[in-house]
Amino acid sequence: MPLPRAASACLDRQAFAGLAARLARDLDADLLLSGAGWPGEEACLAGLGPLAEHVPNPRDPKPGLRAFLAAHPGPALGFLTYPLGLDLRGVPSAKPRALPPGLFRKYAALVSWRHSDGRLDILGADPGLTRELARLAAAPPPLPAWNPPPKAPAAASLDRDGYMRAVEQTLEHIRDGDAYQCTMSIRFGRDFPARLGPDLLLRLWLRRPAPFMAWFRHGPLALLSVSPERFLRLDGGRALSQPIKGTASCLEDDPALAAALRASPKEDAELSMIVDLMRNDLSQNCAPGSVRVDRHKAVFRVDRLLQMHSDVSGALRPGRDGADLLLDAFPPGSVTGCPKRRALEIMERLEPHCRDIFCGCFAVLRENGDLDSSVAIRTALLDARSDRLDFFAGSGIVVDSRPELEYEETVAKADNFLRLEDL
């Protein structure tokens, strides 16, 4: 059941950024924001006044999630954590977890903003709340001036030697036939004033937009995500995944660099593996003969990086739904490795840290059964109790990976994510 429309307005990007930051900072809004300037721009969403919350049951998550979605009006916004993926795939893990397995919320009010024409809709049945939102939207507070916090040293769960050892052990598993590809990550932590989280996200949304951005609160913790990658979309019975493998730094569109990315045998093989893996994960719930690969090795630019990806799509089998699609394919194959379960086991043993939200997903589950979701990479966890920011970076390990280069790539990804000075 949809939420009723209460009010509409027209806002430019700058004004919406100010409004969204204010909603997240002072009204505890959760945000799922689509960044500008990529082919799949969607509406930006803010959920306010949680009506109900749902934590998926790791042993059997589908019935509870379906019941929750049916019990309340409007779309659900939320996330699934990587450790839930370990539970679902039967991989034991005793590492302490900062978050519940996942969390979905339904809201008393929803704010939706469109890139194409700046149209803002306020939806909801709570007159007090929708009136307050209309008042804020009529004169949005500007985004506060950005005073980046002082550079703080980052602690890492693996140092250079430790990371290279883990990669070397992963390579032995690959040579033994345990996996074709794994991912190896590092968890970093640094001081960061948690109250600046919403401003940071909206600053990034204006200056360095990524296709899938998120802000989600859970008690004293908040999740901040700047992801370039779609995990799964379901639209009228058609499922789509857009796995990314292969990145190159570039400040502006560069056809020669894009061609070099497409021509690289290593990147080609990595992407092909993940395309076959995502074909598999869609095929479990899609009709035989309906799964196809389009725009293989397409390249797009986001936040100074070229990204190579493919479109994998299929038609849902009769009797299957978004809960089947999302939970059977979780965690996202592009950040696990292949074959998935053995890769998860190897990474669980070799990484000293818990990934928590990293490599999980953010999702909107719509009232008509459609959904859209991102792969939670370039994602951080903020703790208001300690003013600490934990963030993660990793890289895909394949047989011809060189440990020192993978370490450098992982640290470079982390540095890029935390370049806060020039926003």
């Binding site: 036939g177 074909r279 095929s283 003969g289 998935k340 394949v398 047989v399 011809d400």
Partner: protein
């Protein structure tokens, strides 16, 4: 026709299910390893999967049951080891690449994902296809309905998965 697809916790199993269902116009039952002794199936397919054939001892009685068996990647290596063949590391591995192979009178590009290979051939088996370096790409038993492919007919990188299944069906007496 009933097909049992034994899944070795692999990530390409459902691709294989789609290919088999489309080619044989049959119901494909997917069962996790170790598969129970299912009575009335017409074809057992052993999926790809992680690790070494010795990790999968439960297939031995099924391979001796007389039922037709198609093994893919690890599945082919399991067939080969069952008859005394050996499996060794392949220097450099081949992961996510398509390479030409002569199969059933035709050259076609097939997807390869393997770190290990059939180093010596089991008793009673013959090589149906090899790569440019002589590595076994397809093998079959000389007298029993058993066939294996080292490559992945279900991959989007494989030129014509149907051609591979047609060859298997002929060899197994299913067509």
């Amino acid at each position: 026709m009933r097909i049992l697809l034994a899944d070795n916790a692999d990530s390409f199993t459902w691709n294989l299910e789609h290919l088999l269902a489309g080619f044989f116009r049959a119901r494909v039952e997917v069962a996790p390893y170790p598969p129970e002794r299912v009575r009335d199936f017409d074809l057992l397919v052993i999926s790809p999967g992680p690790g070494h054939p010795r990790e999968y001892p439960a297939y031995a009685p099924l391979l001796d049951s007389g039922a037709p068996v198609l093994g893919i990647c690890l599945g082919m290596q399991i067939l080969n080891e069952h008859f005394g063949g050996t499996t060794e590391r392949l220097p450099g591995c081949v992961h996510g690449r398509a390479e030409p192979v002569d199969l059933g009178g035709r050259s076609l590009r097939v997807a390869r994902y393997h770190s290990l290979h059939a180093a010596t051939l089991g008793r009673g088996l013959e090589v149906l296809a090899a790569d440019a370096h002589g590595l076994v790409m397809a093998l079959a038993h000389e007298t029993r309905p058993l066939i294996g492919f080292q490559f992945h007919p279900e991959s989007f990188l494989t030129e014509d998965g149907g051609h591979c299944l047609a060859l298997a069906a002929r060899r197994l007496g299913l067509s």
